[in-house]
């Protein structure tokens, strides 16, 4: 295999104020090792780019971190808490949520309803409260409606609030997904290809929003993206994944000039 010709550096674990730390993560699907000994860390308030050829294991890594897959080995630490093996919802409540590579539309819900699924600990999520504490449910719902309105305005989706989410264009839906994730009020946000299939103008907008959320809310963001220009513009550092392993981590410039990265991409998975 060509990959043997160059070494794997692994991720940089020596960062200050780590909000997320991943150590020696491993996931096998039968004979396929989709994630192999992956270690990396994210500093609070950073935007980390995750790149790599198709099938490198980027989405699998996200699923492992966010609890959708259980790792075969290794650990994930969020804000100092070991969250390895936790369910996705518990992890979300602890402050880390994700978006999906393929759009997941909730049929039969408007944009506004979609937004309202996000907030945590809503009084009205308990049947008993809807029966016996309607006042609290109303107060919560009002506050959440207001927050949803603000975010929709921020993402310039407010004119679509009453539209069925299924009627949105691909790009608009990506925006909605991001806005909906923000309703969770996360510390860490994992974005799986947020601009895939989005027109350039809207992609530009998305980049602006992501930057703004990062700046204004101290949000730590991980982004998987194939659009190299987009990710190099937005993220620092960049982590390169290849065949389930961390090839290297560095600033956009160092990654751009690293021969191994080009080779990994051209190698198309390194089977040649």
């Amino acid at each position: 295999m060509s990959t043997a010709s160059y070494g794997y550096d692994g991720g940089d674990l020596e960062k200050p104020d780590q909000v997320l730390t991943v150590e020696n993560l491993r996931k096998e699907f039968g004979a396929l090792i989709a994630t192999e000994d992956v270690s990396l860390a994210a500093e609070r308030g950073s935007i980390t780019g995750l790149i790599g050829p198709n099938g490198a294991g980027k989405s699998t890594l996200f699923k492992l971190i966010s609890g959708f897959y259980e790792p075969d080995a290794g650990s994930v630490t969020l804000n100092g808490t070991d969250i390895t093996g936790w369910s996705p919802d518990r992890i979300a409540r602890r402050g880390m949520t994700r978006t999906f590579q393929t759009p997941r539309r909730i049929e039969g819900m408007t944009v506004r309803e979609n937004m309202l699924v996000g907030p945590q600990n809503q009084a009205g999520e308990s049947i008993l409260s809807t029966m016996f504490r309607p006042g609290r449910v109303t107060r919560d719902e009002r506050a959440n409606l207001e927050r949803a309105a603000d975010l929709l305005e921020l993402f310039e989706l407010d004119h679509l609030a009453d539209e069925p989410a299924t009627d949105l264009s691909g790009g608009q839906f990506k925006l909605l997904e991001l806005a909906r994730a923000m309703m969770v009020e996360p510390d860490v946000l994992l974005l799986d290809e947020p601009v895939a299939g989005v027109n350039p103008a809207l992609a530009e907008d998305l980049a602006t929003y992501i930057e703004r959320l990062n700046r204004e809310r101290e949000l730590t963001i991980f982004i998987i993206e194939h659009d190299i220009d987009f990710i190099m513009e937005l993220a620092d550092p960049i982590v390169v994944l290849d065949q389930g392993r961390v090839l290297t981590e560095g600033s956009p410039e160092t990654v751009r000039t690293d021969d191994r990265v080009m080779e990994a991409y051209l190698g198309g998975g390194g089977e040649s």
Binding site: M109, G124, E146, A149
Partner: protein, 395 residues
């Protein structure tokens, strides 16, 4: 509030479908009233059909919580129906094998509690698994209930059934209306109690569906991963929906037992589960109003077929009508054959035939059902703007 819905005017709210269905319903009611007035239909039959209707309506409302809200496939509607019916029957009957003769209120509490406990017992281990395992578990449960009812004679009196179940409401005030309608006070009382139960369940469900709870279930139904990514313990929500729906089915069983006053295992055949599924899908999965409408349609078929004594003959007459006309036009020269279906169709078969046709029609013509859900899953009082919701603001 900037996001508050502006569509508060009545005209905005009523869709074309609602108008059509409302009109059709009104026409149908007028036709029934006309038929009764004209002596074509006995009022006693109409009343007794109405006394039966709450059974199907409640079952449909319960299944709608499970399938319509949360996408849970429960093949054990008849199972929970039987559990509710037998729970109250065993405790309140005044004859063999127990003769406990407890008050029906005790029976109601028992029907709800036992249904809830059994729903928990099935849901706790299976709702974490893939959806098909859960569906299979409910199938198994239905069969277990059937076998217990048949074989545990000490509890259920086996195939003989339980008799002497008390009537829920039979007061002197009912004799007036009963006489007017040419029926028994018991029937009138059942209609009142049955529809009271339907109304209470409907109002409760409408409330929980438009709440954040209903919203989470809608999300789970569409894509459970999204719910989880947004921090919802989807397992807990599914469990709650399953228990709530099953309790409502238990209430249906409770009402059914007291309405019939005697129950036998034959009343809880798996076909009942099928009827209720048809009702929910016909009405529009996820819509409470739809469950009511679909429930009524199923009741109409279940009861209406009783009026047809010779279904094959009736269909043949209908099919031969054009030939008759032709025959007459040709002065009986040319045509001397009549269609014969060569079928022996009894009422049960006709019932199944009609339900089958109905299913095909829904799937082909209107897969979303007659009245699919329309309301947003948003707490209505929160949309009401400033402080014009005094009732909702009380804690």
């Amino acid at each position: 509030m900037s996001l508050a819905s502006t569509g508060s005017e009545l005209a905005d709210r009523i869709t074309r479908e609602e108008l059509l269905i409302g009109g059709a319903t009104a026409l149908f009611l007028a036709a029934v009233a006309g038929a009764v007035a004209g002596g074509l239909l006995e009022s006693a039959f109409v009343v007794s059909s109405l006394a039966f209707a709450p059974v199907i309506l409640l079952l449909a409302l319960g299944l709608n919580v499970q399938w319509g809200y949360g996408g849970l496939v429960n093949f054990s509607v008849a199972g929970f129906f039987a559990v509710g019916a037998y729970s109250t029957a065993v405790l309140t009957n005044g004859s063999d094998p127990h003769g406990l003769a407890l008050h029906p209120a005790v029976g109601l509490v028992a029907a709800m509690a036992v249904s809830a406990a059994l729903a928990l017992a099935i849901g706790l281990p299976t709702l974490r698994l893939r959806a098909d395992y859960f569906a299979i578990a409910t199938l198994g449960f239905a069969e277990i209930v059937r076998l217990i009812v048949l074989n545990e004679g000490w509890l259920t009196n086996g195939g003989l059934g339980v008799f002497g179940i008390p009537v829920l409401f039979e007061a002197g005030v009912l004799s007036g209306p009963a006489e007017l309608l040419n029926t028994t006070p018991r029937n009138v009382g059942n209609v009142l109690i049955g529809f009271l139960a339907v109304a209470v369940v409907f109002l409760v469900l409408r409330r929980v569906q438009s709440s954040p709870w209903g919203r989470v279930l809608r999300t789970i139904r569409a894509d459970e991963d999204v719910g989880q990514a947004l921090g919802k313990n989807t397992y807990r929500f599914k469990l709650q929906a399953f228990v709530l729906g099953s309790v409502i089915m238990g209430v249906a069983g409770f009402y059914f037992a007291h309405y019939l006053r005697a129950i036998t295992p034959g009343a809880f055949e798996p076909i009942q589960t099928f009827y209720v599924w048809v009702a929910v899908i016909l009405g529009g999965s996820g819509s409470n109003r739809g469950a009511i409408l679909g429930g009524f349609a199923v009741v109409l078929i279940l009861r209406g077929t009783r009026l047809v004594n010779n279904p094959v003959g009736a269909i043949e007459t209908l099919l031969n009508a054009p030939i008759d006309v032709l025959d007459r036009l040709l002065f009986s020269v040319a045509v001397d054959f009549r269609l014969s279906l060569g079928l022996d169709l009894n009422q049960d078969a006709l019932r199944l035939l009609l339900i089958g046709l109905l299913v095909i029609a829904i799937v082909r013509l209107r897969p979303q059902g007659l009245l699919p859900p329309q309301r947003e899953h948003i707490w209505p009082a929160a949309l009401g703007g400033g402080g014009d919701a005094p009732e909702e603001d009380r804690e």
